[in-house]
């Protein structure tokens, strides 16, 4: 939690020497609290004060960075409990777990398939963030070979699920120039695991059954010199996950409780009797950090990645659709032309309804600054002028020689003006709601 101006003032020299270009230390402190000044501008501040201020201004959930031989991944730094308060910033990771009990060939095949997975969602490229390799064999040599095999087929970040220092070292040695996450230090092995992490300069996961034990361990490990941590609070199902992850997020944000201010790693497939897809979805919405799946199933992965995109969308900046002329179901010169705005929900509901009819159609998406039809019309962003302009910008007349344009029923009032703006066009008034498009087209468009 950030310090107030007065709290910062107490840490300053209080000499009002003006070297910072502010009249008083207090004025400078106020600017610092508002994040409009930089502490470095005061040449007289003590080292002790610097450390205190740095600690206080550190994010409540520490950022964790992983690197593959090419890809990078960041998680943490979240600042709110609810996305509408600001936004969720760093998308939680979706990783795939593989065991070293598979042969090198099997591993390579699985990794190559999952690594090549890409899916397009409203123009956004979605894919897996990386892989977690588990030392199920318990044998350092086998594990090292498995890690090497995986690294041969993916450049994405890795997580090394290796519970002993020897296994972890074998995994680390099989990689170069990357920054995997080590997993995991617990009450029994933490000293040795912290040592390995420290020597390799790698982030380390800390695992315990209770939050009390977890906080104890992170404190000790931090003292041992490892600061980049992830937490595994040993979750056992939907409710345990919701309770522990909510508590962790609240502790970090509301109490500024440093010992638990780290991203959380979860394994939704590990709890028997739990539907891994549903638990993963819960953890996407409710405070998961790195989600490690056990199955590569596109029908689940696609849904989860889309959900993550939705939850992490900035609510202040809704996804807009690129204005332009969209083709639905392969339209030709006889297909109807409809116009709507570029607010994503508006666009999707219209496009979806039209698509659902199975009829080919043109959809002109006007640049209404991302507002819905009624809002945009009320704000003057979706009027006759705008529509006429976009008809010209996107050369609509060339595509639809029939020169008929269907406007949303909600803006029926602009049809007169639009006739003036587009003199050789016929203006048709469509339904108010997207859901009625099918019946409208059925009765009004007979080609």
């Amino acid at each position: 939690m950030a310090l107030t101006g007065l709290e910062i003032y107490k840490l300053l020299p209080q000499t009002n020497c003006k070297d910072c270009n502010y009249p008083t230390c207090l004025a400078f402190a106020m600017k610092l609290a508002a994040k409009q000044a930089d502490l470095a501008d005061c040449p007289h501040v003590s080292e002790e004060a610097k450390t205190k201020l740095a600690e206080a201004s550190a994010p409540p959930i520490r950022l964790l960075e992983l690197k593959g031989s090419e890809g990078e991944f960041q998680v943490g730094n979240e600042t709110v409990l609810f996305r509408h308060e600001k936004t969720f910033f760093n998308r939680c990771g979706v990783f795939l777990r593989l065991q070293d009990s598979l042969s090198a060939d099997e591993l390579k095949e699985k990794v190559a398939e999952a690594d090549a997975y890409h899916v397009d969602y409203v123009g956004i490229d979605l894919y897996l963030d990386g892989f977690a390799i588990e030392a199920a064999s318990g044998d350092p040599k086998t594990f090292g070979a498995a890690v090497a095999a995986v690294a041969e087929k993916t450049k994405r970040p890795l997580i090394l699920l290796a519970a002993t220092p020897d296994l972890a070292k074998a995994g680390i040695e099989a990689l170069d120039e990357t920054r995997p996450l080590l997993y995991a230090a617990d009450a029994d092995n933490w000293e040795a695991m912290a040592q390995v992490a420290k020597e390799a300069g790698l982030p380390l996961t800390v695992r315990a059954e209770t939050l009390d034990e977890l906080a104890d361990l992170t404190g000790k490990i931090k003292e041992a010199g490892v600061e980049d941590l992830a937490l595994d609070p040993s979750l056992s199902g939907y409710l345990d996950s919701l309770h522990k992850l909510t508590s962790l997020r609240r502790l970090a944000l509301k109490e500024n409780f440093r010992p638990l201010g780290y991203p959380v790693i979860t394994f939704p497939g590990s709890t028997e009797s739990v539907d891994a897809a549903i638990l993963a979805a819960e953890q996407i919405a409710k405070y998961g950090g790195l989600i490690v799946l056990d199955e590569f199933d596109p029908s689940t992965l696609y849904a989860l990645l889309v959900l993550r995109e939705n939850i992490y969308t900035n609510p202040q900046k809704p996804i807009q659709v690129q204005p332009g002329l969209y083709e639905i179901n392969d339209p030709d010169e006889n297909s109807p032309l409809m116009v709507t705005t570029n607010f994503s929900i508006t666009y999707f509901s219209v496009a979806n309804e039209v698509e659902g009819t199975g009829r080919p159609a043109w959809l002109l998406v006007a640049d209404a600054e991302g507002m819905s039809v009624l809002t945009a019309w009320a704000a003057g962003k979706f009027d006759a002028e705008r529509i006429a302009k976009d008809v010209k910008t996107f050369n609509v007349a060339d595509k639809v020689p029939h020169h008929k344009i269907i406007i949303p029923g909600h803006v029926a009032v602009i049809s007169g003006e639009l006739e003036e703006e587009l003199p050789d066009w016929e203006i048709m008034v469509g339904p108010r709601e997207a859901v009625d498009i099918a019946s409208y087209l059925k009765s009004m468009w007979t080609t």
Binding site: F82, L242, P259
Partner: protein
């Protein structure tokens, strides 16, 4: 180190609403459904009480729908041919509420009639002991024409009638008042609009205990984040004492998820979308469970498998001990 778990102190709770009436209460239902009453954010048992679990409504139609995904129609099979059988099947799936949606037109393309509606409502009431909801096809004039006879036929059964929208709520509310029913108040993903319509309906004399609030949602990938956040905001407002946001919430992930391409279409879609059936099932389930986490008190579902799937999640989340 003893970590103290932070708890929020909420000052208010969600209103309780009961759908359906048993014979003692003037109806014929074998059981009723009560939702709401919680005094904290969803499933945080350690900081509030949760007298009622979120409930599952299963959508049925007065006739076999023309435009449903073949996956759904296959799963439903013959039951989709007959509303009485469909209602019984829904009860067997584990529904808490039968959500009957009336069609604008009959199978032969003629407009639906009050007589037909009465017959269907009667059939469904006779076929199941569960409480029911009856909603129109979503076109103002037709809705009014069909809901009034439905309300008359089900007099005293405390049916959830819908759908009340800002531009069309008076006739439905009047029918609810006249025949002892409840209403579904639906507004397009906006906190203030939700409140306003509840106020307007309440102003007509319908007690708040008879209003379910439907803030509207989008499916996964189609605007779920707007619905999700509006629901979180409504629930936070409710728990901090904003009276007109305290209605329990009903949302329709079934209808939303089953109208999108991901569930409707099996061919000519990207390979990366994966197996059609599993994807479609995930679409409805994940839309539903995500909304349950943002405060939904009733979710409406369509696919039999998903009713069981979501039920298990709700049961797990509602068990007070971990």
């Amino acid at each position: 180190m003893a970590v103290e778990i932070p708890k929020e102190k909420w000052t208010a709770q969600v209103r309780k609403v009961t759908i359906g009436a048993t014979s003692e209460e003037g109806g014929t239902r074998a059981k009723t459904l009560t939702v709401g009453g919680e005094s904290a954010l969803p499933f945080l048992h350690y900081e509030g009480s949760f007298p009622n679990k979120p409930a599952l409504a299963v959508e049925i139609r007065d006739r076999k729908p023309d435009d449903w995904s073949p996956l759904l129609l296959d799963a439903l099979g013959e039951t989709a041919e007959d509303p009485a059988k469909w209602a019984q099947a829904a009860e067997a799936m584990g529904a808490d509420l039968i959500y009957l949606v009336l069609s604008a037109a009959t199978a032969d393309g003629n407009p639906n009639t009050p007589e037909n509606v009465r017959a269907v409502v009667r059939k469904v009431l006779d076929a199941t002991g569960l409480p029911i909801a009856v909603v129109g096809p979503g076109q103002a004039e037709i809705d009014n024409e069909l809901i009034v006879p439905a309300a008359e036929e089900a007099d005293g059964e405390r049916v959830l009638l819908g759908v009340c929208e800002e531009k069309n709520y008076r006739t439905i509310v009047a029918a609810a008042l006249a025949h002892n029913h409840l209403v579904q108040s639906k507004t397009p993903m906006d906190v203030n609009l939700s409140k306003q319509l509840v106020i307007l309906i309440n102003d007509m004399g319908l007690p708040l205990e008879r209003i379910m609030m439907d803030p509207t949602t989008g499916a996964l990938g189609y605007g779920i984040e707007y619905g999700y956040s509006v629901m979180e905001r409504l629930r936070l407002a409710a728990l901090t004492g904003d009276k007109m946001t305290q209605q329990p919430m009903i949302v329709d992930p079934g209808a939303e998820a089953w109208k999108v391409k991901e569930s409707k279409v099996g061919e000519g879609v990207p390979e990366a979308w994966g197996d059609w059936n599993r994807r479609a099932l995930n679409w409805e389930t994940l839309t539903a469970t995500t909304l349950i986490h943002s405060g939904a008190n009733i979710v409406i579902l369509r696919h039999p498998e998903n009713v069981a799937r979501v039920r298990k999640v709700i049961d797990d989340l509602s068990s007070a001990t971990t």
